[in-house]
Amino acid sequence: MNARWNLVLLPSLLVCAILIVASQYVFIRTSFYHDLGMGRTGTELTLTNYIRFFSDSFYLKVLVLTVRVSGWATLLTLLLAFPVAYLIARMHSRFAMWLLAGIVVATFVTIVIKVYGIMIIFAADGWLNRFLMWSGVTDRPYSVFGTEVGVVMGLMHFTLGFGVLLLYSVVHTIPRSFEDAAQIHGATRWRVHWRVVLPLSLPGLTVGALMIFNMCMGAFTSAALLGGGRLFTLPVLVQRVVMMEVQYSMGGALAGVLLVVTLVINLVSIMLLRKLRAARFVVA
């Protein structure tokens, strides 16, 4: 019986493994050559691109910025998404379907369109800025372009819908009876959340957080449009170097650093979760 299922698995495994290995191998190998300009690369293996990356403070700053905005966006996305996911998952009325529909539509629509929306909202003579100036919060129009706040906001628009959908299925795996049990015995709502819901959803929360973080690390659109040509994240730089400067090997090196940093952060987080689990800090 099992052998049959193994046979079913093999073709898919082969396709995926080939796609991953072939594509990653090609660009990582290219990153170890030298750019000759016009998209051609040298023939000798060299570390030039990586040395350039780690000796130039510009690139290092870009890397730090990328990790920082992704981290902020992940944290804020979780903070906004979890209460919504919890609300929808615990709701009994037909209204829950409408709430869910709003989330799905927002996830469907490409981030480019949402960035248009942000541009209109933060237009210098838009109603938001007029309100801010009228109420005296600022004395000149507030602009999100070229600021970290703008980039984080763009990333959140990219991930928030996904975040809610992910956490929705996480909350759904927590039996409601656990909460009821704690509450019947006198725990306050706050205590139920803190001691029952949170520990139970922590594994799912970690997986969700990592997925959102990975999305941010690879996101290019919001940072490209809202960075306003002043603020570069690593994905934006990869696209510029490859498509505009046609330096495939330098682009490959930038992408390689991005890949390794992302994978290391993923691994460390998963190991931390294992540690917590071993220390019985987290159940499940």
Partner: protein, 298 residues
């Protein structure tokens, strides 16, 4: 067990006859609701604003204001033909990517849950890898792979539909594997045993018992696959040529180079298409059951 402890602890306290405090004003619930409305306003306001502004009349400058003045549908009539072409391309691409994602992902999930090959953790990691590789990296990796394939065999993958499709299917597969795996792990094997013992063939059992029960997972995975493909910029921007631009990439370049009010109208068309797709989904399978069976805490 922390949770059991908490419950016991509370039970002990409860025995001292302390009832849960209930204030007249449900402050917690109000804060929760307020917080959720904030999330919704944040998430949906750009879409509302775009729809509103797309109805603006009166030239290029006025087009960026909301609420609209001089309501008109002129912007819709001026949408250039090429944008509809790229919209068609994007829809076909997303549907194909979701389909291929299912063709590869469903057998993968079945094998992962029911097979007994050694190294399952590693195999699961292979199927999950596209989620961990940043999207831009996937884009540049496939671009360079296509160049190499082109040099070696003369096959032109770069800028072709098939080239885009391979990249998009690559990022759609993990979603299908995830959601189908989640549902298979909860599957009651006795259902299959019952069918077999009643004389159904293996294939018939699979088709009539197993497949229908994992279908919600398949739909959920396909929906996610469709969504990531239909909204994707970072992968497509590397793989599409000026003749095969996906819709988001087309809008991205329009926004970067020359802004015109027709962009807002085109964006509204996409929002409308998404709404229609959503309603079809709701009618076909029901949104709630669909997303409930999605990838859970794994």
């Amino acid at each position: 067990m922390n949770i059991a402890n908490t419950i016991l602890e509370e039970a002990r306290r409860g025995s001292r006859a302390r009832m849960p405090r209930r204030s007249l004003l449900p402050v917690g619930a109000l804060v929760h609701l307020g917080w959720c409305s904030l999330s919704y306003i944040f998430l949906l306001s750009p879409l509302v604003v775009v729809i509103g502004a797309s109805l603006n009349g009166g030239g290029e400058y006025a087009s960026m204001s909301f609420p609209p003045q001089d309501v008109t549908i002129a912007n819709y009539l001026d949408i250039p033909q090429r944008r509809f072409e790229s919209l068609g391309l994007s829809l076909a691409l997303a549907a194909s990517a979701a389909l291929i994602g299912c063709l590869i992902g469903v057998p993968a999930a079945l094998g992962l849950v029911r097979g007994n090959l050694p190294g399952k953790m590693l195999m699961a990691a292979v199927f999950r890898a596209p989620l961990q590789i940043p999207a831009v990296v996937t884009g540049i990796a496939f671009l360079q792979l296509y160049y190499i394939i082109g040099d070696a065999t003369g096959l032109k993958m770069y800028g072709s539909f098939s080239g885009l499709l391979v990249g998009h299917a690559f990022i759609a597969i993990p979603y299908v594997v995830g959601s189908v795996t989640a549902i298979l792990q909860r599957f009651d094997n006795r259902l299959e045993e019952a069918a077999l013992s009643l004389g159904a063939s293996r294939w018939r059992t699979f088709r009539r018992v197993t497949l229908p029960s994992i279908m919600p997972g398949v739909y959920a995975g396909a929906l996610y696959g469709f969504m990531v493909s239909f909204a994707d910029v970072p992968v497509s921007i590397f793989l599409s040529s000026p003749h095969t631009r996906t819709y988001p990439v087309e809008l991205f370049f329009d926004l970067e180079h020359d802004f015109s009010p027709t962009i807002l109208a085109s964006a509204t068309v996409v929002i409308a298409i998404c709404l229609i797709l959503l309603m079809v989904m709701q009618k076909l399978v029901g949104l709630e059951t669909l997303l409930r069976s999605g990838k859970g805490g794994r």
